[in-house]
C-alpha cells in the first residue's frame, strides 16, 4: 500500500491542500457559470466565421479563419454550387443542409438573395456544392475551437 493512499500524510487528508483545492474548484466553476464568453464565442463564431476568435483578441487566427471560410463559400457560389434547403426528404440532402447551415449568416444571406439555386449546368458545379458544405463544417470546427479557448479547455 502506498504511503499516499491513506493516512494523515495523504494529500486529500491535508486540510490546507483540501481547502486550496476546494477554493480553486469553486472559483473555476463560478467563473464558468457566470461568464457568458464561451457561449458568445460559440454563437458568434457560428454566425460570422472567425468572430469567436476575434472576440477573444486572437486577431491573426480569427482573420485567417474568416478569410479561409468566407473564401471557400464564395468560391463555391462562383462555381455555381447548390445551396441546400431543409425538408427535402432525402437523407443526403438533409446532411448537406446541415453542412450548409454551419456557415451561419453566410447561408442565411445566400438564401435571402436566392443564390445557389440555379440548375447545375457545368461539371465543376459539384465542386462548388462541396466547397460550401465543407466551409460550413469547418466553420463549426472553428466555433467549437473558440468555445474551447474561452472555457480554458484549449490552452492558447
Amino acid at each position: 500500500m502506498s504511503a499516499f493512499s491513506g493516512g494523515p500524510l495523504a494529500p486529500h487528508n491535508h486540510p490546507a491542500i483540501m481547502n486550496r483545492a476546494m477554493a480553486t474548484n469553486v472559483s473555476a466553476s463560478t467563473r464558468a457559470q457566470t461568464s457568458s464568453m464561451p457561449t458568445m464565442a460559440l454563437i458568434a463564431g457560428w454566425l460570422i466565421p472567425g468572430a469567436g476568435h476575434l472576440l477573444q483578441r486572437k486577431w491573426i487566427r480569427g482573420s485567417l479563419l474568416m478569410v479561409s471560410i468566407v473564401a471557400m463559400f464564395a468560391i463555391g457560389l462562383a462555381l455555381k454550387g447548390k445551396i441546400y434547403s431543409p425538408n427535402t426528404g432525402d437523407l443526403l440532402d438533409i446532411l448537406n443542409f446541415a453542412g450548409d447551415l454551419g456557415n451561419g449568416l453566410l447561408y442565411i444571406l445566400a438564401r435571402m438573395l436566392d443564390l445557389g439555386q440555379v440548375t447545375v449546368q457545368v461539371a465543376t458545379a459539384d465542386y462548388g456544392t462541396k466547397f460550401m458544405v465543407v466551409a460550413g463544417l469547418l466553420n463549426i470546427i472553428s466555433a467549437v475551437d473558440a468555445h474551447s479557448l474561452a472555457t480554458g479547455r484549449k490552452r492558447s
Partner: protein, 58 residues
Amino acid sequence: MTISHFGAVLLFSLFTSIVFGITQRSEPRMMIRFGAFCFVLFVGGTIAASWIMWLIKH
C-alpha cells in the same frame, strides 16, 4: 468562374489546412507545421489517387 480540377484541389487543400492547423494545435509553430502537413497530405493523396486510377484504367 471556371477552375481546373487541380486548381480546385489546391484551393480546397489550402483553406482546409489553414483551419485544421489553427483549430487542432495550441502553439503557433505547431499550427504551421500541422497545417503544412495536412496540405501535403491532401495534395499528395489526390495525386497518388489520380495515378492509381490512371493505372487501373490503362
